[in-house]
């Protein structure tokens, strides 16, 4: 696992925090199953050592879905071995972890295409089709987005 650069003498200590987080994930999963209520745990705000984080990742395991996103820096999302519990890791400057959470939901929002992006995509594709068929007559008012999203 790539390590966060925050090296301290405590990094190798297993504090037991991973088990507490695991219990919380269990409670959130029960709530999701019972009422559809999503939840999340912000890992960055917890005093997890690197060893705790590794232990938690190992205990939660990996499930069927993994996604890598390029969003102004890398992000990784994977379903844990417990369907409905997702690990989301956002990387920032220097590939360091900028935000990290366990989301308990059917599908994390970050994987869904936003309606505004879908509308823009439809316009862009229409524009691309038009210019391909009649390159000399680009459609007026077409979006000027050139870089494909994601």
């Amino acid at each position: 696992m790539p390590r966060d650069a925050r090296a301290t003498c405590l990094d190798a200590t297993v504090t037991g925090m991973a088990l507490s987080v695991l219990a919380e994930v269990g409670r959130l999963l029960e709530a999701l199953a019972a009422s559809g209520q999503p939840g999340a745990i912000d890992l960055r705000s917890l005093p997890l050592t690197d060893a705790d984080r590794e232990q938690l990742e190992e205990l939660l395991g990996r499930g069927e879905v993994q996604a890598e996103l390029e969003l102004t820096g890398r992000s990784e999302v994977w379903e844990t071995a417990y369907p409905g519990a997702w690990w989301i890791r956002h990387r920032g400057a220097g590939d360091r972890i900028a935000a990290e959470e366990i989301a308990v939901c059917s599908v994390p929002d970050i994987l869904l295409a936003h309606p505004d992006d879908i509308r823009a995509a439809a316009r862009r594709l229409q524009h691309d089709l038009t210019t391909q068929q009649a390159p000399s007559a680009p459609e007026a008012g077409a979006t000027n987005v050139e870089t494909p999203h994601v």
């Binding site: 999503p38 960055r44 969003l71």
Partner: protein, 385 residues
Amino acid sequence: MSDKKAATRGPLTTPPSTPVRTPVQTLGEALAERGVSRRSFLKFASYTASILALPPTAATAIAQGLANARRQSVIWLSFQECTGCTESITRARTPSIEDLIFDFISLDYHHTLQNASGHAAEEARMAAMEENAGEYIVIVDGSVPLKDDGIYSTIAGITNLQMLEETVKDAFAVISVGSCAAFGGIPGANPNPTGAVPISDIITDKPVINISGCPPIPEAMTGTIAYLLSFAAIPELDHLGRPKAFFGEAIHDRCYRRPFYERGLFAKSFDDEGARQGWCLFEVGCKGPVTYNACATLKWNGGVSFPIQSGHGCLGCSEPGFWDLGGFYKPLSTAKGDPLKWAGGAAVVGAAVGAASAYAARNLRKKSLKAAAAAATPPTAEEKE
């Protein structure tokens, strides 16, 4: 003194004249044109929720708020300062999600960063004030000298006091960044030759948010701006006007050396065995127990480290009057060999130590850092008289 509560934009501002504006793009629209997807907003929002200590589920609301917001006009005034605060917020590095905040604001005036100079610069300030009356944010770094009619610092032929009052008149809110703007800082240190005062001494009819620190942690500045943009409201502040999200806990409360403090294991000098073992730095002057800031959690340079992790005690730079405490290397308590006694107010041992020392530190919080240190330090010969 009661805490200032979170407030919304509506009741806080009654701009004298709000010019009719043509519709401008939302941030969502503007950034989409540059290939920034809503997923990137959500990623930034997750990062922001995390640094603001909001639940991760708040990220969706933050992303929506930001996407629907207009680019925020910011006028940055620099008075008696060293530009360290600007250095901190603009820390040079590769573009990353943390820097997306700079796409959300329009920095309409900033001495160090703007291209314009002279009359053109001042005209840009005036134009931004007129176009965004009632909605722009004024960020100030540096204190304002009042002695001798404020002649000790002037810009564009007017005193800092005149420029501040003129610029803040139609602002939505003021953010004092750095301990100089928040509390007087270095210019206000004894004997304060220019009569330097913090911004909150002058501006009393607008919300003034203090982001103290020398310099402040960049995330505390950008996180506060992101909060203002997302929720169009002032975050909850402590009794010194600082956002509780960043200044709600003492360095000591979140310090990884705390277990050594609890066990009474202290470095006695910077090169002794205790220092090598990573023991608590209280006795070599650490001001962590009475300093409220986010260094121990957010850390510095993108989370690499913070002073205590690098072997140096906290200086207390985010507290009022930290320069005049009598020495960075002087323990808060000079009571020989028993800092726990100072922290707990009584002999405290075992499991009770943590709770008692935290309680004592919180009580000390009610006084200023200076008062706390004074209480913990024997009076000087002069004071005895």
